[in-house]
Symmetry: C2
Subunit: 132 residues, 2 copies
DNA sequence: TCAAATATGTTATATTATAACAAACGTTAT
DNA sequence: ATAACGTTTGTTATAATATAACATATTTGA
């Protein structure tokens, strides 16, 4: 069983650029940024992204088709993710709120479905954008 | 001010097919299904989808890039949406739980951002799929 | 050291979504 | 009525996002 504790070359390159970024990055923007490092095809990016998501190192912001580094130590397996998203500047902030997370993790569907995972996205205008 | 109480031709066609569907529909699958009615181009579908979303008649399931009819009378403006999604059969069910909705609508970000809207997606295996 | 699993490189293609422009239609005010 | 306005439609082209398929290389571990 390959419990990938260590990242492969491409995975590390992709993770680095996502972690350094100020905001969410799109797959093709990552691709353009790493072409100098020898990565040439979308597949290579998407494969790294998939693995990194699986490890909980990054998250996908579904409403934006973009990727952010995980800033919380809680969600190593990305089972319970929540984000705040500014509709003006595109800023994304990972929410780690224990109460919220517990509340949602304990939430059960009336129709008897047991949830394994959730993703929550809040939208609004961030403080910085409100000033303008 | 055009308060579209009434749907346009294409909007009605697209809404009809989404409402009749058993599960979420993708834009291009809608397109193929309405070509007999004279709709020929993706633009026509996406324009109708945008308007219908704006009216709260349908919702986009972000993690699937697919669209479902609104089954709840609560979310006329799609400000507070929650879904349960089966990872096996792709079934999507809109959750309308007043307590959940109130809890999330009242949730405020620590960093002072005021939320206008949220979307929540739960994932698991539905009852029907569990039996297999 | 050999087999299995994982990662890579590469080309091609599928899927999802928007841009741009022209024409038709439906209101409403004059 | 008719001009003016906003909205909807039709249409062609293209952009952006994501996966298929296959060959090779590298790592892991029995
Ligand atoms: Zn996280
Ligand atoms: Zn902002
Ligand atoms: Zn709804
Ligand atoms: Zn199911």
């Amino acid at each position: 069983m390959a419990r990938a504790q260590t990242l492969s070359r491409n995975q590390q390159i992709v993770l680095d650029i996502i972690q350094k970024a100020k905001g969410p990055l799109k797959a093709y923007s990552i691709l353009f940024n790493v072409q100098k490092k020898g990565i040439k095809a979308p597949q290579q990016i998407y494969r790294a992204l998939d693995k990194l998501i699986g490890m909980g190192k990054i998250h996908k912001i579904e409403s934006k088709n973009a990727f952010v580094a995980c800033r919380s130590s809680d969600c190593e397996i990305s089972k319970a993710t929540a984000f705040s998203i500014c509709e003006s500047c595109e800023m994304v902030d990972e929410i780690s709120d224990t109460k919220l997370s517990k509340y949602l993790s304990g939430f059960n569907h009336k129709k008897g479905m047991k949830f394994k995972r959730f993703n929550l996205e809040f939208f609004g205008i961030c403080k910085k954008c409100k000033k303008d």
